[in-house]
Symmetry: C2
Subunit: 462 residues, 2 copies
């Protein structure tokens, strides 16, 4: 059952559906039990809800919980509503706390109530505690199942402990050495344990370079730690410095993808959503997009006003019109390049507000290079295309000059605005990603028009 | 030495610099040996090259190699040039193959030659073999150091083997069960080994649901597997299905960040580069951006031509000018929203070309909703702002109608173009990310103008 080979997986799916149609439930159940939980979830989400719940209930407790964690909220909700409280209780107990919490954050209130009733008091209190951490904080993504050791234990005892309590821990490979008051004193990996001698004492082999985050730290801080230090698990401490949970690398991978998607969506003026595109309803998509379009549409009024105010000038030199889109687009693109680069660098932790001067100085030099290059190219293009090929008589030398000067100045301003706004947004506590292409474009549009008409006024005396 | 707490790290840095100035080399060396390799690299890259090389050479073999892997190519090159062949040989031998290969891909040819001479024949042949895999393929990011077991071994023997050969493996937590002809037969985790009984046989506890990729698979396939199946390591098989290497989760995290950054940069019409922004020279940044700006600038010619051809019409109804930026921007933004969403979904593996009809149908409905909403908003805005507040007499009811109809039609076309082009690009074998905001905008600009003037011709008889 190679999950990777999609053709083979196709084949398995067919067999499963065949078994389902032929009601060969026992065999179907066996096959599912042997399959990877992710593939089982894929299969379940393809069959009609009623049957899905029926088949889900056939699965073993453990398998059931694993599969459940891989289903979409909608499917999870359906299953919750179709199982008995005892069955529900079993699922919740088997789930890792962080999976349970993720689910709770999505489910409608009434369903959550029922789930909480079904959970044991301990689980309930843990989940409650977790639900109080903001979804984007380290506390929001951490899990409570980790292995803690004491520094006076020796390797043999430690391995024995891991074997005893390891079963339902999300990771056993990083063990956390805690003091009697649950403070983190050191970290030791199973690799180190295996490579050490049985009677070595933890205190001597544990790593004291503690890398940890606090429950309130942002998700991005967590991902940075993982990519900087190549971790498998990161300890999370509360305000009193006590170890309350860990974040495991598999959750970090999901966070990384979500963070990037959110940035990308914000950069395109879309309100982020964590559902995959095909699962989003038309109205949801619309709701995530329309407010930004409206806002940008209205703010484009200024460019309109500018043009209106120069209408007479344009009437005299109608040819100037033809170059407006090119100037606005090039300005917008130059600005986006700068802003997007800066935004991404900020969220990767490559640059901070303190670097603003260095960034501006870099962008200014890039802007001069680009501005000059584009101005020359424009000049050549105008003479070649508009004058020779199109043979437009109105395109005088002066007009081309106006366009080229505007081009250079616009690119310069665009790069400057593009690199400063995101950093200022960050400083002001907003998400820099919002200060990207669409907004930069709208601002640069207005700037470019003002430059254009001013230069025209001076050189063409209109 | 809590690497996380930046203030404390500041403090350590100061101490280190103090030790350096006071030439208290012995103590400095001790401190560095105890520190995390990433932080040591950070420290080294802050001091002048000559001193850096000097201090680097003080580090122990193992530490040296770890730190070396965390330096930038420039720094690595400087060190390579300042160490003896024997020292260089040691570094290369200590490096994990994938780190060594990453370095080779960046270094100038002459330096690579020297490194290869310094490496032992075995290492050299492995590196050579790896260098032949494309940088973005599974083969390009895999490492050769993994633990292989035989299915007839029992748990005790297996753990003994791990303890024996585990030292210099990049991960020991996932062990790969191979046949005599190096084919992958199963996978067993150290967790499973620890939780099993000493005399259990691997064959009985190993997982036969093989999840693997082949050396030529794209990096994105690798990252998908990791996020789907929550893996710590993924086996890589050659064309004959033999196990040649593994990809570890820490490398996948770097790949995920690179992939996202590349997508984002392409979406903003920038040629991607894997150096962090502040390390990029002004000319490099310029080289990555200017070709796209040129291309887009030239392609904006069409919009110019369209406007010129309608110059007379515009002369009659100069007021139409004022709305062009708003129409073009809104069109561009609507298009980008669709394209960016689709591009991201493609690279996350959420949608494939086969979904094109579903995607188009979704976007069409979103487009209708957005178009109508924006048209109404525009109408209100024109009557309120342009007519009442600005008191522009030229803004007649008919003119507003023209603008609103154009708005609706433009948004519709924009969404359609925005969602189809990336999928077609993907189908044609291009990177869909290129079919994003800037290009969509340029295309939509032309479309919106054509619609605008045609509608105007019909309703205003110009």
């Amino acid at each position: 059952m190679r999950a990777t080979d999609s053709r083979e997986f196709e084949h398995i799916r067919e067999t499963l559906f065949e078994l389902l149609d032929k009601k060969r439930i026992k065999l179907l159940r066996q096959t599912l039990e042997e399959m990877n939980e992710f593939d089982v979830a894929e299969f379940l989400s393809e069959i009609e809800p009623a049957k899905m719940a029926m088949i889900f209930r056939m699965l073993s407790k453990e398998k059931g919980a694993e599969v459940f964690a891989n289903l979409d909220v909608g499917e999870q909700e359906f299953i919750i509503n179709s199982v008995s409280d005892t069955e529900l209780g079993d699922i919740i107990e088997e789930l890792y706390v962080d999976d349970a919490v993720d689910m709770m954050e999505e489910l409608p209130a009434n369903v959550v109530k029922r789930v909480m009733r079904a959970a044991t008091p301990d689980t309930r209190s843990i989940i409650n505690q977790y639900l109080n951490y903001p979804e984007n904080s380290a506390g929001g993504i951490m899990t409570a199942e980790f292995i803690d050791l004491k520094k006076y234990m020796n390797v043999k005892e430690s391995i024995a402990r891991i074997r005893r309590i390891g079963e339902d821990k999300e990771t056993i490979y990083t063990c956390f050495v805690t003091s009697s008051d649950r403070r983190l004193e050191g970290v030791v990996t199973v690799k180190e344990l295996l490579l050490a001698n049985d009677d070595d004492v933890i205190e001597d082999i544990m790593d004291r370079n503690l890398i940890y985050v606090s429950t309130t730290d942002d998700r991005e801080t967590v991902t940075e730690k993982f990519s900087d230090y190549d971790l498998l698990a990161l300890p999370v401490a509360d305000s009193e410095g006590r170890l309350v949970g860990i974040v495991t690398v598999d959750d970090v991978i999901d966070v990384l993808e979500q963070e990037a998607t959110e940035d990308i969506e914000k950069m395109a003026a879309i309100t982020p959503s964590d559902k995959p595109y095909l699962k989003l309803g038309v109205f949801e998509i619309w709701k995530n997009r329309i407010p930004w379009l409206m806002l940008l549409m209205v703010s484009a009024t200024f460019t309109g006003i500018i043009i209106t105010s120069f209408e007479d000038a344009l009437a005299v030199q109608a040819v100037l019109m033809a170059f407006i889109p090119m100037l606005m687009d090039t300005g917008g693109n130059s600005g986006s390049q700068a802003s997007v680069t800066v935004i991404r660098s900020i969220s990767l932790g490559d640059i901070e507000f303190s670097d603003i001067m260095e960034v501006i100085w870099k962008e200014i030099r890039v802007a001069v290079l680009s501005g000059v290059a584009l101005a020359c190219a424009t000049f050549a293009k105008i003479l070649l295309v508009d004058k020779l090929i199109m043979g437009n008589p109105e395109v005088s030398f002066l007009v081309s000059l106006v366009v080229c000067i505007t081009m250079a100045l616009t690119v310069f301003c665009a790069k400057f605005v593009g690199c400063t706004l995101p950093m200022l947004a960050k400083k002001a506590g907003f998400d820099p990603a919002v200060m990207s292409s669409p907004f930069i474009t709208t601002i640069v549009d207005a700037i470019s028009l003002l430059i254009y008409f001013s230069v025209a006024k001076i050189l063409l005396h209109i």
